[in-house]
Amino acid sequence: MKDNNLFSNYEKLASTWDEMYNDSAEFRSQYNGFIKYLENTSPEKLSKKEDLAKQLFMSQGVTFTVYSDNEGIEKIFPFDIVPRIITANEWQKIEAGIKQRLKALNLFIKDIYNEQFIIKDGIIPGELIYTCPYFLREMKGVKVPHDVYIQISGVDLIRNNDGEFYVLEDNLRTPSGVSYMLENREISKRLFPGILPKNNVRSVSDYPNLLYKKLKGLSNNLNPNIVLLTPGIYNSAYYEHTTLARLMGIELVEGSDLVVKNHFVYMKSTNGLKQVDVIYRRVDDDFLDPLEFNEKSVLGVAGIMAAYRKGNVNIVNAPGTGIADDKAIYIYVPDMIKYYLDEEPILKNIETYQLGRPDELEYVTKNIKDMVIKKTDGSGGYGMLMGHEATEEDIEDYLNNVSKKPENFIAQPILRLSTAPCYIDGKLSPRCIDLRPFALSGADGVHISPGGLTRVALKKGSLVVNSSQGGGSKDTWILE
């Protein structure tokens, strides 16, 4: 069954790195094991597995609900059955690069909310900090346990056509997707019996234990009461909140379950108020405390920030970490690494133009067909302009918008996201992917789960991997 047509018509994209094929159209060695499996499996069988995967996601409740006409429809995050495979060497570099980056970013946040040496030394302009919507004055001078602000992060990487991994953004606020890393692996175990061990794929299942240990380490209490704060069942990541709470054995709470009394946080339980020591919050800064931030928020808890500043409760991630993953600050991360660590960045930044600078704005405008322009405070793939597919009119409109407040925009050259084989309509086809590994930081350093979430742009030729825009995901295998 050597030729089952699975591999025919694999149209590699021009000047794009493919994860499975090298430039001479030979298989990369890390894919050998899985290719052998594919060669011995008929397309019918693979299609069955694809259906099985869908059913499994549904029956396990790995879904989010879309409401329309009073009717809730359960949706799954599309899953491609072909895993994305990364070698041990590649992973080593990714791991070292993320650790270095997080170390610098954490020092940066501490610096910004305390002495601000980096501004005084002229590395980063102060106005950039103070105009950033994620900068929280409320955090100035607040002492956080072990000086760790970013306990949980999910740095987005892409592989450019030079084969190198670049950092796309450092999600340092409340990154989501880790439950899909875990769930995708559980599905692979059932779809491909025996194949994971045969390929020496590293396990990711320790993540919840590790997360629990990091959260526990934040409290001086030997047996702290740790809770996960969710915005509630209508949040699209609610599945993830329930899963993490269940896997860690901690309570899943909503804002209305908590109350602050004398600067301590309590949960309302059937036998009275019970003190809460650590809160893993999946609620954004802005909604955390109606007394200090968005006063209309019902998702947070009134008085929680005051309790936090007194050190009576721990909030993870610390409020205000968004200052370090703002798109305008991103440009300075390589400088931070040099400034704080005196090291060369292991992972590269994507060349980024700050449209607030007239020369860069001019350059970007001239080369707009090769650029993607983003708002500095945007996320989820919204509010972007992809120069190569935009009409003249779109471009004009967008640039008009830019001219109103150019410092709120950045531009990057359109990236050649690497492609990986996906099983689509009975054949393997290349689709653009990125990679989000999940890192946990605490007093004992940074741990990165050997895996991550590989997001796929399932639309042919698309570069947008966001789930809100037709993206899907893949299991991510890191080989020993």
Partner: protein
């Protein structure tokens, strides 16, 4: 335990129990209605389980079952009930067994499958209802063998038995209304028999009293039998047991609750059929319903306080 979680657990089981009761009633009424539609109409069924605003009534069996199972405007349609049960379960996943969550999630997916509605129209409606009822049996069995005996389990059982008492009381009231409309003793016996079918007690009745229909025997069995799991006394007894455990572990405040449940339990236990007949079965049921409602309000107070 979080008060919200306790509340969700109670309602999870209340909804599942209600669904199970409605499905039983639909099945039994379907059979009876095919025999004698003039005696067993669908109107009382719809009336009992819809709110005051409902204006929809039908005497077409399939239309009625469709309305009671699928109609999202019907507050107590099985689809609405299971959706709500699932939402409750979903938000307390760390408190219920994984198996139980998967069970209810699968029930929800089964119910929302687009083909299912067609099945009701084109295939055997009894099989259709039985297939749905099976999910409730699996739910109860799964809870029994996977859920640890602790606070969550007690709260779930409180919900289950509160609801079950309500359902038995409601079913009996429906039958009493129907019985009041006839003076024919044979017809009356049909209704009593139908009540036993609806709560699944016919087989036990036959074993105990053979095929002679005596109204007093039926009432005694439905309200006072100690071993029949769908008698009012059995449910109140269980309810009392689980409430007591929650009081012992300080999950519920003693206050009125201990008194109310104790009073209800004795009022059923230490009464005779003569006594019930003297005050009238309708009154007797009304008192039980009031007590159950008071108990329920007292437990809800847990959620709303602090």
């Amino acid at each position: 335990m979080l008060s919200r979680v306790a509340n969700n657990l109670i309602w999870l089981d209340r909804y599942m129990e209600r669904g199970s009761g409605i499905l039983s009633l639909l099945k039994v009424n379907y059979y009876a209605n095919q025999d004698s539609p003039e005696l067993f109409s669908w109107t009382p069924v719809i009336k009992n389980f819809t709110d005051y605003h409902n204006e929809y009534y039908t005497e077409d069996a399939l239309e009625c079952i469709d309305f009671m199972v699928f109609n999202t405007d019907n507050y107590n349609s099985i689809l609405n009930i299971v959706t709500k049960a699932r939402e409750n379960a979903r938000s307390v996943q760390e408190h219920i067994s994984r198996e139980l969550w998967l069970c209810i999630n699968n029930y929800y997916l089964y119910l929302t499958d687009k083909q299912l509605r067609q099945k009701l129209r084109e295939e055997d409606p009894v099989q259709f209802l039985d297939d749905l009822r099976k999910h409730h049996l699996i739910y109860n069995g799964t809870a029994d063998v996977t859920q640890e005996r602790g606070t969550s389990y007690y709260f779930m059982n409180v919900g289950k038995f509160l609801e079950r008492v309500n359902i038995i009381a409601d079913f009996t009231s429906i039958k009493l209304d129907e019985i009041a409309n006839t003076s024919d003793s044979l017809e009356k016996s049909f209704y009593w028999k139908n009540l036993l079918f609806s709560i699944g007690g016919y087989q036990l009745y036959l074993k105990t009293h053979k095929s002679t229909f005596n109204q007093d025997h039926v009432i005694t069995m439905v309200f006072q039998d100690k071993l029949f799991p769908r008698s009012v006394y059995y449910c109140v007894n269980k309810l009392s047991r689980h409430i007591t455990r929650l009081i012992e572990t300080n999950e519920l405040a003693k206050n009125n609750l201990e008194f109310l449940i104790g009073k209800l339990e004795s009022s059923i236990k230490y009464t005779t059929i003569e006594n019930i007949n003297d005050q009238g079965l309708n009154n007797f049921i009304q008192n039980i319903k009031e007590d159950i409602s008071n108990i329920s309000t007292n437990i809800n107070a847990v959620y709303n306080s602090k």
